[in-house]
């Protein structure tokens, strides 16, 4: 498929060279958030609420301040008043004001000369609380009589008569539901719940901040987006954004959870109060689970109708989600994507964003999509089962394709759902015979991707090698992908390109590595900056040859005379132009700044085989297949890695990961012992098929691939368990006690 102006034959794209940061990462040299120290550095610690909901009556810091080695203590009183909207939410979440809103909410922080003294001092800070009634469940939080988390938090969208904890309301759809359901031969209606899951990055939040009384400072931090950090810290502290230079460390996983701030403003505030001494802070795992954002939990009602031959006639869904004590549960995205896989004439989605006494949710890989997919793809599967239809054929019959009007309005451009379904159907995994207590599940999922504000620079060194500067932190090998795209654009070897992640002082604003945007947006920016650079390189050659710049083309790393001058001069390699650039006009570099708008979604289809122990209810994953559209896989091994990682996070969310709150509203499982992410022995190899339906909005056809992979596993596994046990489980996780209860007829 050749697209206008899009390359189809590549030299470097699609190869799998070693990543440039690989050597540092296998030798322990790579520097992450907690790996930097500075002379005179202090260490911070945070005091956190042991209550799910409580008035803060008094904070006595005198004993802590009296401890030898303590240099500063801060409370909310050390932050400016008068913030509004999301800035206020962020400030309130980083440091509680009048009330502690969840178990683990920060109420004070201390900086001392050693980590142990800081911890000891934190224990000496006395906080007087007046516990208030709390609520942690989404349905309970919007029920009559539920404790009000915050009055007046609802926005314009919320209809009258709802509980004050409902803060945003969404309603979208088209067609005539009544007519659509009347056309169906079978209508199934079911309710579903999913628990909150944590991103579970292995590197806890960590930073090293320094700020003087003039509001100028520096911050070393593990983050997905350092410009976001700069903006948020400046807002929370009441300082100017440019006063703060933020340098991203290597990042030990984020998955959305590191697109916001928690301890970063505290480290800067402590530093400012301690006379500008740098303050290092790091969260414990318990703090990460209690106080950083997991995803929202959800409660959903789905109704879908189908004809005997497998056509979806109508679909409706109601989605209630709590994202902690602040607005922001991704129910807006949930309602958009819920039925986005299919061509459905009559559809309606209603969503409620609800406050509860839990930590402020943060983005987690395809935020909002996995919960919706669990519910909608489970109902679709049940329709197929009861109508004796093949789940892939049925999906193919209804699949969105180019020109289909998406359930959220616009028409799709070229998309690859059909191709992923066909590849899944053709894969040997789909034909493996199954034994007793085994079942196969299929599901598809979607993430629409993102462009966002993006800056990149490309500079030519004196020896002709190339430095690419981008602003999206490299989580999964994106430096290699940028280098491949730059190598392709310049026609020079991959090894001649070095990619740096710049700090906030060195480039224009960049949104974080989120929304599956890094390879798409920073990649596009890199290519465009390279083209800008190539134009200048051609001009230098033209000047030397004394011909028009327009008469010079760029091929295989060389300027070449073309048109009337073709063949007049030998090709001039980049190294030659670079060697002379000091005398031909100075440094040569290229730039791109913009908000790339050509992103296009990535669809995936997963096929999973499970075995369920009928006596214990434990589910074992036997085989797992991920098929997903990458548009164009720049570095196929890293694309596979995204597919596999996303799928396994979805497996964890489905089987064992959950936030467990006690009657007291405190988190019961704030550690990796009982917040059970998958371990190596839980899993088989994860088979992958990369489908490539090029995205016309990227020079090389790239689609972001990071997020989609977490969406299909939830329903795919539930559908497989349905086949293995005969039971439709509608509540996640599929913990063994729940599955066993269903098998024994009590679920």
């Amino acid at each position: 498929m050749a697209l206008d102006g899009q390359k189809t034959a590549y030299t470097y794209i699609g190869t799998t060279p070693d990543r440039p940061d690989g050597l540092d990462k296998v030798t322990g040299r790579a520097r992450y958030g907690a790996d930097i120290s500075l002379p005179g550095m202090l260490h911070g610690a945070v005091v956190r609420s042991p209550h799910a909901h409580a008035k803060i009556l008094k904070i006595d810091t005198s004993k802590a301040m009296a401890l030898d080695g303590v240099k500063a203590v801060i409370t909310r009183a050390d932050f400016p008043d008068g913030l509004e909207g999301e800035d206020w939410n962020l400030q309130e979440n980083c440091m509680a004001g009048d009330k502690a809103l969840y178990d683990g909410h920060a109420v004070a922080a201390v900086a001392a000369t050693s980590p142990l003294i800081a911890r000891d001092a934190a224990k000496l800070i006395e906080v007087a609380y007046e516990p208030l009634p709390h609520v942690t469940d989404v349905d309970a939080a919007m029920a009559e009589g539920a404790p009000v988390i915050r009055e007046g938090a609802a926005d314009f969208s919320v209809p009258d008569g709802l509980h004050p904890n409902v803060v945003r309301y969404f309603d979208s759809g088209r067609g005539d539901l009544e007519q659509g359901f009347a056309e169906a031969d079978l209508v199934i209606e079911k309710s579903f719940t999913t628990e909150a899951a944590h991103q579970g990055y292995i590197e806890p939040q960590a930073c090293l901040g320094q700020m003087g009384g003039d509001g100028r400072g520096e911050l070393w931090v593990t983050t997905q987006g350092h410009w976001f950090v700069r903006r948020m810290c400046a807002a929370i502290l009441g300082t100017e954004a440019t006063g703060l230079r933020v340098t991203p460390s290597e990042i030990g996983g984020g998955f959305g959870g590191k697109t916001t701030v928690f301890i970063e403003p505290l480290s800067l505030a402590l530093s400012r109060k301690a006379g500008g001494k740098p303050v290092k802070m790091g969260m414990t795992r318990s703090e990460v689970l209690r106080a950083t954002g997991p995803t929202a939990s959800a409660s959903m009602d789905i109704k879908m109708g189908m004809t005997k031959d497998g056509r979806i006639t109508a679909a409706s869904g109601t989605f209630r989600m709590q994202g902690g004590a602040f607005p922001g549960a991704p129910v807006d995205v949930t309602t958009m994507l819920a039925f986005g896989n299919y061509d459905i004439a009559h559809v309606r989605q209603v969503g409620y964003d609800v406050l509860a006494n839990r930590p402020k949710q943060a983005a987690y890989r395809a935020p909002g999509a996995p919960m919706a997919a669990f519910a909608t793809e489970s109902v679709l599967d049940e329709l197929c089962r009861q109508l004796h239809l093949d789940p892939i054929d049925t999906r193919l019959k209804n699949a969105a394709r180019e020109g289909t009007r998406a359930t959220f309005g616009p028409k799709y451009g070229p998309i690859g759902l059909v191709e992923t379904l066909e590849a899944a159907k053709a894969h040997p995994n789909y034909r493996q015979p199954l034994g007793p207590n085994q079942g196969r599940g299929v599901a598809s999922g979607y993430w629409m991707n993102w462009g966002g504000e993006t800056s990149a620079s490309v500079a030519i060194s004196e020896d002709g090698s190339i430095t690419v500067s981008i602003g999206t932190p490299d989580i999964g090998g994106s430096r290699a992908s940028m280098a491949l795209m730059a190598a392709e654009a310049f026609g020079v070897p991959y090894e001649n390109v070095r990619v740096n992640i710049s700090d906030t002082g060195a480039l224009g604003v960049n949104e974080p590595t989120h929304g599956s945007r890094a390879t798409y947006a920073s990649g596009l920016a890199t290519i465009r900056a390279a083209e800008d650079c190539i134009t200048k390189l051609c001009k230098r050659a033209a000047d030397k040859w004394e011909i028009d710049a327009e008469a010079v083309t760029w091929e295989d790393g060389c300027a070449k005379p073309s048109g009337p001058n073709a063949g007049d001069f030998p090709p001039m390699p980049i190294a030659e132009i670079a060697a002379e650039m000091g005398e031909t006009g100075g440094p040569i570099s290229g730039h791109f700044e913009g908000t790339p708008a050509g992103f296009s979604g990535s669809f995936g289809t997963h096929v999973v085989d499970v075995e369920v122990d009928p006596e214990t209810g434990r589910t074992t994953i036997l085989r797992y297949l991920v098929v997903q559209d990458a548009g164009k896989a720049i570095h196929p091994a890293y694309v596979e890695g995204q597919f596999q990682g996303g799928a396994v996070q979805g497996i964890g969310w489905t089987l064992n990961e959950e936030y467990i709150y006690g009657e007291d509203g405190r988190l019961q499982n704030a550690g990796f012992l009982d917040y059970r992410i998958p371990v190596a022995s839980d899993l088989p190899m994860i088979d992958t098929v990369i489908v490539e339906v090029p995205n016309p909005g990227h020079p090389y056809g790239v689609r972001g691939v990071g997020e989609t992979g977490i969406t299909p596993p939830l329903p795919a596994i539930a559908n497989a368990v349905r086949e293995a046990t005969g039971k439709r489980l509608c509540d996640l996780p599929l913990r063994p006690s729940r599955v066993l209860a269903a098998i024994r007829g009590k679920g």
Binding site: G22, G28, I117, E203, I475, Q644, V648, G671, A680
Partner: protein, 160 residues
């Protein structure tokens, strides 16, 4: 403040010493007193394996060892895995097989995997998976990690 204790030990073959509070873990001491930040703290409670090191050749979580317990011991960390510029085959295979994404778990997994291959040069996939069950990786889904370990084992067997 607790009196600090003097500890003499061996780190990757070099004699080193440090002062520490008895409450400090070996991981704290490696990172804060010896400048060896290759071992990472992912949990502090022995559940993630990111701080894996060897103590007298035995694979341990350095967060579950006190610094004072290292007296007279030999500690092996990721910083000592390569032989000068020459990477250990496991290190090379991890890069080649794309067995790391963010890389935070990588030092611990490499130490653990080397300890496995030192004991069992020909492990099955299942043996690799169970040996590494205490090393959490959130990025890769383990597929490429297991492949890299198996491939490195194969190369090491051929070389010996």
């Amino acid at each position: 403040m607790t009196r600090r204790l003097h500890v003499s030990t061996t780190l990757n073959g070099d004699a080193v010493d440090f002062l520490c509070d008895p409450r400090e873990t070996l991981l704290d001491c490696l990172r804060d007193h010896l400048g060896a930040t290759g071992a990472k703290e992912g949990c502090g409670t022995g559940d993630c394996g990111a701080c894996s090191v060897t103590l007298d050749g035995r694979l341990v979580c350095s967060c579950l060892v006190l610094g004072v317990e290292a007296e007279g011991k030999e500690i092996g960390t990721i910083e000592g895995m390569a032989d000068g510029e020459t990477l250990h085959p496991l290190q090379r295979k991890f890069i080649e097989h794309a067995a790391l994404q963010c890389g935070i778990c990588t030092p611990g997994i490499l130490i653990a995997a080397k300890n496995l291959l030192d004991r069992n040069p020909d492990p099955t996939e299942t043996e690799v998976r169970y040996w590494l069950a205490g090393n959490l990786c959130r990025c890769t889904g383990y597929d490429k990690i297991v492949r890299a370990v198996m491939d490195a084992a194969s190369e090491l067997r051929e070389a010996s």
